[in-house]
Symmetry: C2
């Protein structure tokens, strides 16, 4: 198992939430713990299903609101910067992406722009890789020139 996030005890949770400006509700504690425990990169729906065992009356809206709060506070992250709407590419060659997290612009990098990626260990059992690509996230020139106003 990877040495990832450890379940924080209640008094540390209190601190984490206070620093994030989030008040400490039962729903929030259960949701946060669920996300830390679930190693599967869960969807909001999956979290909702899971948390309902503990709080049957919780609403999906509450799940979404808290996920957003956790993301805004930097407690969790979303896996893909362009979830939400489909983005297409016609470049079928192996290549990589530069992604602006602000304006969602995507720019291709040619495969030859990078040294080949090399694994140091075997991949987890039986996974068959078709292809890989490297995603560089950051801010494009235009967005990093503008003020943040968030």
């Amino acid at each position: 198992m990877q040495p990832t996030t450890v379940m924080p005890p209640m008094d540390e949770l209190r601190k984490v939430f206070r620093e994030a400006g989030l008040s400490l509700t039962h729903q929030r504690v259960v949701l946060y713990r669920a996300v830390l425990e679930m190693r599967s990169h869960p969807s909001p729906e999956a979290i909702y299903e899971r948390v309902r065992d503990e709080i049957p009356s919780i609403s999906l809206g509450t799940v979404y609101k808290n996920i957003r709060a956790f993301m805004d506070a930097g407690l969790v992250r979303e896996v893909s910067p362009h979830h939400g709407t489909l983005r297409l590419e016609s470049n079928l060659e192996e290549h990589h992406h530069l992604v602006c997290t602000r304006c969602k612009a995507i720019v291709d990098l040619e495969e030859s722009d990078l040294e080949p990626v090399r694994l140091r260990r075997e991949l987890p059992g039986g996974f068959r890789v078709d292809r890989y690509s490297v995603e560089f996230r950051g801010l494009c020139a235009a967005c990093s020139a503008k003020p943040d106003l968030s």
Copy 2:
């Protein structure tokens, strides 16, 4: 500019579409050319806006249907394998992902599982990279054991 996809002449388009089992409609030709020309990894909405200059009566439904047809035929690809629903992660360390394109499972690879990624050239002007990660796409053991049935 990258040596990406070149605009195919009409008789080659005819061949491409025939091999994909797609009949040659005006809308389809205009849509396909639009996707090849747009280097911005466009969304369906962006393609719709663009194509409306040429075919004002085209419907958004037709855009979606043809995008799906192009993707199924392998003429274009979607940038992210997990668009459509948000996926969360609580691992805030630098790491990489193994993604099953069939069941959408996501597994973390530790940063130390890979040799560091090295660039051979400067990035396009002014882009500020916050972090990068490598995404390996393929089939997990369970999915590659099952038949395709698509």
